[in-house]
Each structure stands twice: as structure tokens, then as C-alpha cells.
Symmetry: C2
């Protein structure tokens, strides 16, 4: 096999309880069969011998009882010296993996009633038909090659990985639908799509497709894609009928419309609601759902224009439409208002759609967070987002209460280790866990992932967890300060370029002068902070209240602004960069000490990535610091080297 | 025909003298035949009737007398009411075109004795085997397509164009030799190369090839390309023997060695002299010449390193080797010490090779000068270079005295108009004229080109010449100030990016702070100015003497530095940018007034380019000015708009 099993590489364990040696199979569905298969595989690997078949009540055994529950939840309960896994067919899959994970991490008698927080827990692949992956850092696509989709053993193993951490959906093609990918809708690739859908479905994972809003023109030969045009509506109805007949277990469509040059309803003077509802209407008879991205802004902004604020765009566009969307529409909003930067506030749009299904989109692909050459464990960031209390209501108004579904841009590709950086697999695993239980503890997730991946050696677990848990803060410290974002090389988004986006069309400016930096987004500025509920608006809008890590996202400040600890803003920036690099060195050294304690191939792969991380972190440190120094001529108080 | 004839599109002229109606043919060579063909073609076009054959002394006629002179020179002398063109075979070609140009521009009885200043007057094509052109802005290659060279009618017409303005050589492939281009040496493409060589030779133009220094490894399977290795030397001797047997009129090789990642003698601890002489030795038996580029510098510089000065690199490398090169070696030095910026001093290397053949390289391809979307007539710049007195000796030490040959990177491709921008053809023509006569007047060249191209309407000639003659200064004003260079988008080299190269590896830094800008290259700085003869070293090395247009090339200065006219440096920069844009607008408006006076298709093509020039010039103006304003917070004294 030319790929690893990641955390599903179950290891031999001594002293598991007796019930793990025998299984009483009371299942009858495909899900039940998958669960049984995984239990047998896992228990055999851990015990060294395959579990025996057992009859109920005979002796301590694992009883797998299938109910008629259509959901994903499951129950694990003790039965004397035995254990019972009880669930519907889909739930058995999640229950089986959960049990195995508990056993493998030292919890021999897990008892729990577990069900997922959201019915849709998925990954978005930005895979192109030609096999390339937009923002992919782990090789080529394993869903597409040479212009067409394909199904392989890896498809099914991917579904296992997703199910094993709680995920249940996968959109296989890039939201920027181009080339042959248009034809995923036309029937040209039905046979392969059916195979992919079946492989995923075996593990309860649904297939989703990204479609182009202008498909009626591109595929249907119509001269419009106007969502209110009857011919267009009929075309989509027919297209859905055909597609669902061929692939009945298709979950629905994902659409990027009127965004970064993609076609959409605005071309016809229609609203996003009119556009989305038209598609949702065509999907409804087949139980299909529509995921409609909210990543809409002016991507041809004149840099001279200081009135337009990209951060405002999504709320300005979508909040007024709340309540207008059909019930099978989900509005998909990125976690921040701009674009997956290392530090952004939570998108205010998430609080402004009380009468609409909203779907929170994270990015596992480390586009702006080191591209899987830097280690950057994102679960702490994701928890911050999920935990934020939006304050529109006094209770139950955290992001995780508000949303109805979660997705993340996948970080996988056909590399042996799936994610390029071995440690980036913790993000894939972690996102699955959070998608099931958004209150899960990032430290606990890291621990579980490390034990499942590298085994139980406490030295390994402790080191891996320490690296993971500090990695985001370290990356942030040596890269872009205090939420300002975008000081990266244009297009590539890797490496520093302090003014790379400054005079461009993307609406991402810091407008630094020798005296001050940042875009003022408070009430005296662009008014972005007013998009939040009043308590958050007050928090973010006033410099003295604003969380310091977001200071330069929200405010324009002089370099001698005093931080809460008394340092000047510029000194804080210098300090962060020097410290961030040193901390990256410490992480790399900590990894070096694991040689011999983790498999040699993984050790070397990660070591090599750390080498690149340090090279890059040094560039970040020196370029950002020197740029600020040249701009201000304010020296570092500690006299460290800045370059003129 | 899918391409224009440029300035060879002879127009009907009334009242030419009688001798132009009859030709007395006393030629016997291929050159003579080409000359006759061109004279008949041109005179027929101008007179409306073909010239008649005449016998000597019969009536006023054009007598074409072929001598045994092997050179390119020719004589035009009056014989009563007739005219005699007298030259050797090659000279007749240049004489014929010269006569036609005189007739077409209103000089019916030209009398002159003319011979070229340099024996090698050539163009370098950066055409790749796949048909792309490195830094090409006029379409695809007309020498290569689909991985192989090809010969067409256009090859011969290109040779006519080159000969018509005085050129006699053409290196057809990119100095960065890659892919199939390696096999130009191996025999794989001999048949097509022979055809190309023959087409060029018909007009006295020699074929040159760029070769890779490591060909013995890439083609010969040797494990070294060490120039002192006997197997390597034997390989090159055999390769030359084979090649010259197949293409006897080949002129020689052009080599880019130890430059920007290209292989070279340094890999083997050998000097450039050892490398070049090895190749020259292999070429010598066949009369072949070796052109060896001096564009050698550290292209992986650490931006933190302030000691290394790219401007120094060529002199430091090559000046100590003066006198060590064989006599068929020509060292090819770019006109400036860095790389074809809009304003650079003359390369000091040109004065440091008294015992070596030196070949001056210009760039017609407008890589840094607007990429043939901006009009930028380069002859005034070229004349500045050629006219500079290097002061190593009191007399006859201008650049044009010093060099032994000239070349230029071509600006042509397979666009209909050859050069993308119709007005860029003036650069091609002008370089030819200067290569023959480096004292030719850029204004006179522009006038001649305009009349030949657009006809005699004085309003057209005056407007075209005014546009051409101010175009370089205008481009300079709205782009990069006072010789500082490199404020362009990295890689692409089009459009502004004030810090685009600042933290990169190319050795091209301005190191601007809020207080000062520039690299100090005087004796207190990198010492680059000391590479010139003492009078120039003093001129450039002292701020008060330094020509202002080069001030920021040579010196690091505070923004309040007083220019000679009393303005501050920063105010001069602001003024230049505002004025430059306005002057670009004036040029575009002047062109607009030519509608109906020049052919409509050319009018529209140029108008469209002017539109892009203005769009781009506005970006340059506003980005450069705003960048300086943000950096310094010094306002414009005239209160014009700067963007925060």
C-alpha cells in the first residue's frame, strides 16, 4: 500500500478485558457490517488474535446491537463483564471506531451515550479534474486524475479515516469548478462517481459535488443562467433528476457564486437567496441539500479606495437575506470575515443568520498557516471560534450553538502520509472530533491522536502534544502580528512580503506609514465592528477593550501605542518575532529528541519539515522586524539584530 | 502574408531622378543578386514601374558595380546624371538598402562612402525550443516551434529587415539553453538549421547559436565539463567539426556560463578565460567566434548582506582576466553593471578590457522598460552609453571606441507587426543604424524610421518623433526614480512593486528607511565607483558631482537632500511622477490626433497600447508616490493627491 493508515494503525495492547475477545453480532445493515469489520480488524490487531463469535449471555463479549435509529449516535454500555454497542446502522460505525479509540488509548470500559452536534460534518476538497489541488500541500488528488474522477482502494480507506473521527460527508471537487469538472453534472462521469459514492457510503460518508452556477450555459447551451428564468429552472430540475437517479445517495451541491469571478445570480440582478433557492428547489425532491458559500466581496478593489472594507462584505451581502432561504439551503461562512488568516475575529455573519441554516467553514489546508511545511495545530483556533459567545441573545448563543453544520477545506492528498506533514494529520483527526463534539478539548484530542498514531510512550505523547499545542501561537508570533494579516507573498501565500498585498486589488491592506499601521474598523472607521451584537461591538470597537491579539485587525494605531503590559506596540512586534523563532527552534529540538522513539520514516519526514520551518521562520522574523525597523527607525529595546 | 514589412514597405514617390528607372547590373555574387532584387523591388514600388536593364554609359542609370571587397562597406557616387553603387557582394546589400532609404526619405542623389563601425552587429534571440520567448512581448518565436527550429518565408524576410538597417548576425536561441535546444549542437536539427543559415546568409546575416557549457555531459555522456579535461576538449573539437561541416557558414557560439544557475568553468575551479578559451580553441579551425557573456553575479545573495554589491560583480570577475582570452573570444557585457534598468551608469567593465575584444549588449526587448506596452524609444539611451568617455586614456576612449562588436536582445516575435508595439519597431531599426554608425543621431533615426514606416506627412513625422524622443524620459519619470532600479513586480518586471526585490536573493536592494534610501556605492560604501577610471570615479563617487539622474544608483541619501535646483529629493520624486503621467497622457493624445493620417490598423494597435500605458503609468505614479509618502510622511509641496 502506498499510503499509511494514520491513526487507524492499531497497535498490539496487553491486558485488554476479556469481552474484547468475543463479538456477539446482532447487526443487519451495511453500516453494521462495516462496524463489525472494523471491530474485528481492530481487536485482532490489539489482542493479537481475532475475536471469536459469541452468543448473547454466554460469556463476557462485545455485543453489537443494531437498532432502527437512522441517526449517527450510539451508546456504549456495560453488561456485566461485557460491553454493548447499540445504535442504528450508521451509528454503529461511529460507535465501533469510538470503542476502538477508547481501547487503544487506555479506557477499557467506555460507557457513553454519544451523538453528533451537527448532522452535516464534512470536508471540502479543492481537487481539480486534472488531479491538481488548489491550495493542496500533500501531493495530487486521490479523487481525480487526467481530467476524470476515479475510485480506488484509497477512496474507501479515506472514508474509513473520516468515519473513524466522526465525519460524514465529503465534497470531492473544487468550488472553483472548471474544465472537465463541469461534466460531473452531465452524466459523463456517472459510473466513476457511483463507485466513489458507494465506497464512501460504506462508511456512512456522503458524496457532495461542487457545481457551477452557470452550468445551464456551460453544459446546457442556454444563453442565460438567470435563476428566475423558467428554462434555467427546468434545466436544473432535469439535471438533478438525472443525477439522483444515477447516484441516489448523493447528498447535494456546494456552490461558490458571485465570488472571485465565479458566475452567480448577481449577473442577472438577482439576490443570493433567489439564486440559492432555485437550486435548492431542484434538489428538494431528492432530499438533496444546497451549500451556498458566503465568501463574497469585491476582488477588484482599487487600493486607493479607503471606504470599502472587505471584512464588511459578507454581512452586508447576506445578513439582509436572513430568513429568505429554503430549508434545505445552508449558508457556508468561513470562520473569519476575511480569509483563513492565522488570526481573525469570528465572522459576524455567523450571528446574523438566526432564521437560516448556517454552515461554518474551517480550513485544514494550511494555505496561510505554513502550508504543511510548518507545524500548526489548528484545534485551539477552531475551539476559540466555536466557543465565542456572539451575544445576540443572553444564552445559548455561542458559535457552536448557532451553526447547523460544519465543514473544512481538506488538507489531504495522495502523499504517503496523506497530509504532507505527519503532524498535520492531527488537524484532520481533530476536526473530525470537533465536528462531532465541538466542546472537545484540543489538548485531549492531541493526546488521543498522538497515542493512536505513535503509541503510548509518555515521552512521545508529551513532546508531540507540547509541540502541537504551542504551534499555532508560535507560527503567529513569527509571522503576521496581532491580526493584521496578509503580509505574505502574493498568490503563493507562503513566506513574508510585508507590502505584498498593499497596492493590489484584493481589499487586504494595512496602509502602514512611518507613524501608524492598520485599518480602523471601529465606529469611527469602516464600522465593521457594528456588525457584531452590541457587547462584542463595544469590545472590539474600543481600543482599550479590544483583545490584544486582534488589535491590528480592528484598529489603526501608532507604533508607540502602549500594550497592557506596558510595552510599545512596536516592541511587542519585535519581541514576538524573536521569541517565535526561538520557540520554533525549541519545537524542532524537541522533535529531534524523539529519534528512535517514533518510526524512523515519520521521524525523518517531520525533521525535514522542521528544517524548512526554521529556515522560513528566520526569514519571517528578520523581514518583518527589519521592515518595521526601516519604516519607523525605532530600535529594539533589547538591542537584537535588525537589518538596515 | 501574416506579418507586415515594417520600414521596407516602400511607398510610391513622385519625381525620383531618371537614373532610378534603369539599372546597369555588374554583379556576380549572391550578395549582388540580393542587392539587385531589393533595388528592383524598391524602385518599382517607388516609381510605379520596374527599372529597365541598362548598359553602362548609355543613359542615366544606377550602376551596381561589384568589387572583390570582402567587407560590408559600400560607396555611392555620382556619375553624371546617374549613380554608382560600388561594393563587394555583402556591401552591395547594405548599399542597396541605404540607397533605397535615402530615396524614400527625400535624398535623390546620396553620395557617401560608408562602412560599419563594427564587424559584428547582431541580435540575440531568447527564443526557446518550445516556441516561447523569454522576455518576449511580441508573440511566439519565428525560429522555433514544438521543440524544433523551423525555416519559413519569414526567416528570409527577417534577414532582409536586419540587413536593411545594417545588422549582420543573429543568435537564434536563448542563452538559457534548455530542453531540445541542447540538441542544436548534436546534429538532430542540422537540416532546419542549414535552411535557416541559408535564408539569413542570402542577406549577409550570420547564424549564431547559444550553447550550454555542460553540453559534453548533457549530450556527450561525459561525467565532467571541465574545460581542462582532455576528453571535454576533444568532445568540443569533434562537435565543432561536425557542426561546421554541416553548416559551414555558422558564425560561432554564444555562451552564458556561471550565471544565474547556468553551468560554467567555476564548477571545476577554472577561470572564465580557461572556459572561454577552450571553446574558442575548438571553434578556431573553422573561423568560428565565441561570445562569452559577462553577466555573472551572486544570484543567491542573502538580503541581510550589505557588503556584497551586485554592481561590482562583473568587473571583479572579468577585469583581472583582461588579456588572457584568445583572439576569437568576445566578452559580451551588458550596457549597465546590473541589468537593463531604465537608468544605469555605463558598465565599468567596458573600460577595463583593453586587451580583450569586448561586445556591448543592449536590450531591445523592453523587459524593464514597459514590455512593448509602453512606448520607450531607446536610442537616446544607447547613444548615451556609446558616447560616454571612459577616461582611461585622454583620447579615443568613449565606449564606442572601446568595443569591438555590438548586440542587442531582440524585441521581435511572430506578431503581425513583429514588435508588439508598432512604435517599438523604431528600436529594432534604430539599433541597426547605430550598430553601423554609433554616432548616428537618435532624432534623425526616428525621423527616417517614421517616414519609411508611415510616409512623409510632416504632421505624422513630427508627432511620431516627438513621442519617440521624449518616451524614455517619460517612462523613467513615472517609474523608478533617479537610477535606483528594481521597483518592479518580481519575476514579471512589469508594474510597480516598491519593495518587491527588497528581501529577495537577487542583490537588488534600495534599503529604504523612513529617513534615507539607496545603496552607497562611493568609496565610503561598496567602492563600486572605484571600478571606473579616476575622473569618472570622482564624478560618480561624490554626491555633489554625481549626475542627478544617477544619484540614487550611486548614493544613499536622506529625503531632504537638496537637488541642484533647490528642490528636495522627495519633492523631485513626487514631481517627476506627476509630470511623467501627464506627459504620457500628452503622448497618447498626440497619437490620437493622427487618426486618419496613419493606417487605421496601426493607429488602433498603438492607441490600444497607449491605453494600457496610461493605466499602468497611473499605477506607477500613485504607488511609487504613495509608498514614499507613507514611508516619510513628507507631503507634496504642491498638495497633489497622495494616498494613505
Amino acid at each position: 500500500m502506498d499510503y499509511s493508515q494514520l491513526w487507524l494503525n492499531w497497535k498490539r495492547r496487553e491486558g485488554l478485558p476479556a469481552y474484547t475477545g468475543a463479538i456477539c453480532d446482532e447487526t443487519h445493515s451495511e453500516g453494521g457490517r462495516a462496524a463489525l469489520r472494523e471491530l474485528r480488524l481492530g481487536l485482532e490487531a490489539m489482542n493479537g488474535t481475532p475475536p471469536l463469535p459469541a452468543r448473547d449471555g454466554e460469556a463476557p463479549c462485545l455485543r453489537v446491537e443494531e437498532t432502527e435509529d437512522p441517526g449517527d449516535g450510539f451508546t456504549l454500555l456495560r453488561e456485566g463483564e461485557g460491553l454493548c454497542l447499540r445504535a442504528g446502522g450508521r451509528g454503529l460505525i461511529y460507535g465501533a471506531f469510538s470503542l476502538l479509540r477508547h481501547l487503544a488509548t487506555g479506557d477499557p470500559f467506555p460507557r457513553l451515550v454519544s451523538s453528533p452536534a451537527y448532522p452535516i460534518r464534512m470536508l471540502d476538497h479543492w481537487d481539480n479534474a486534472d488531479g491538481s489541488i488548489e491550495r493542496g500541500y500533500s501531493g495530487r488528488s486521490f479523487f481525480f486524475r487526467d481530467g476524470a474522477p476515479f475510485c480506488s482502494e484509497r477512496t474507501r480507506d479515506y472514508a474509513r479515516l473520516l468515519a473513524s473521527c466522526g465525519l460524514n460527508g465529503c465534497c470531492v471537487n473544487n468550488v472553483n469548478v472548471k474544465g472537465n469538472a463541469l461534466h460531473l453534472l452531465s452524466g459523463r462521469y456517472d459510473e466513476e462517481l457511483r463507485k466513489i459514492a458507494a465506497s464512501l457510503e460504506e462508511y456512512g460518508v456522503s458524496l457532495w459535488l461542487s457545481v457551477s452556477f452557470s452550468s445551464p450555459m456551460e453544459l446546457g447551451g442556454l444563453d442565460t443562467a438567470d435563476p428566475l428564468d423558467e428554462a434555467v429552472r427546468a434545466w436544473w430540475r432535469a439535471a438533478c433528476r438525472r443525477l439522483f437517479q444515477s447516484i441516489p445517495n448523493l447528498a447535494g451541491f456546494l456552490v461558490k457564486a458571485d465570488s472571485e469571478g465565479r458566475p452567480g445570480p448577481h449577473s442577472y440582478g438577482r439576490t443570493h437567496a433567489e439564486g440559492a433557492n432555485m437550486l435548492a428547489d431542484a434538489l428538494a425532491p431528492f432530499g438533496g441539500k444546497l451549500l451556498w458559500r458566503c465568501f463574497v466581496y469585491n476582488c477588484t478593489q482599487d487600493w486607493r479606495d479607503t471606504k470599502t472594507d472587505r471584512a464588511r462584505a459578507q454581512c452586508d451581502t447576506f445578513a439582509p437575506l436572513d430568513g429568505q432561504f429554503l430549508e434545505n439551503v445552508f449558508l457556508q461562512a468561513k470562520n473569519g470575515p476575511v480569509d483563513f488568516q492565522i488570526r481573525e475575529p469570528v465572522s459576524p455573519l455567523l450571528g446574523r443568520l438566526p432564521h437560516t441554516n448556517s454552515l461554518l467553514e474551517f480550513q485544514l489546508a494550511q494555505e496561510y498557516t505554513g502550508q504543511q511545511r510548518h507545524v500548526c495545530y489548528l484545534m485551539p483556533m477552531f475551539r476559540e471560534v466555536l466557543d465565542l459567545h456572539l451575544r445576540h441573545r443572553p444564552q445559548a448563543d455561542t458559535v457552536r450553538d448557532t451553526i447547523r453544520a460544519v465543514t473544512a477545506v481538506s488538507n489531504t492528498g495522495d502523499d504517503f502520509n496523506w497530509t504532507g506533514h505527519d503532524l498535520a494529520a492531527a488537524n484532520l483527526f481533530g476536526f473530525g472530533i470537533l465536528s462531532w463534539n465541538p466542546a472537545a478539548d484540543p489538548a485531549e484530542i492531541a493526546r488521543e491522536w498522538s497515542v493512536l498514531t505513535f503509541g503510548e510512550d509518555p515521552a512521545v505523547t508529551e513532546t508531540v502534544c507540547r509541540i502541537l499545542l504551542r504551534s499555532r501561537e508560535v507560527y503567529e508570533k513569527y509571522t503576521v502580528p496581532l491580526g493584521i494579516g496578509w503580509m505574505c507573498v502574493p498568490g503563493i501565500h507562503y513566506g513574508p512580503s510585508p507590502e505584498g498585498y498593499e497596492y493590489d486589488r484584493w481589499g487586504t491592506y494595512h496602509r502602514a506609514t512611518c507613524r501608524a499601521i492598520g485599518v480602523e474598523r471601529g465606529p469611527e472607521g469602516t464600522g465593521f465592528t457594528e456588525q457584531y451584537a452590541p457587547p462584542l461591538a463595544a469590545l472590539y470597537g474600543e481600543i482599550e477593550n479590544c483583545p490584544e491579539e486582534l488589535l491590528l485587525f480592528f484598529h489603526r494605531l501608532p507604533y508607540d501605542h502602549r500594550m497592557k503590559d506596558g510595552r510599545t506596540l512596536i516592541q511587542r512586534i519585535y519581541d514576538d518575532h524573536f521569541e517565535g523563532f526561538e520557540e520554533a527552534e525549541e519545537m524542532a529540538e524537541a522533535w529531534d529528541r524523539l529519534q528512535g522513539k517514533v518510526p524512523e520514516d515519520a521521524f525523518r519526514r517531520v525533521q525535514e519539515r522542521f528544517r524548512e520551518q526554521l529556515r522560513s521562520a528566520r526569514e519571517w522574523r528578520d523581514i518583518i522586524n527589519s521592515w518595521f525597523f526601516r519604516l519607523t527607525m525605532i530600535p529594539d529595546e533589547k538591542g537584537r539584530t535588525l537589518y538596515l
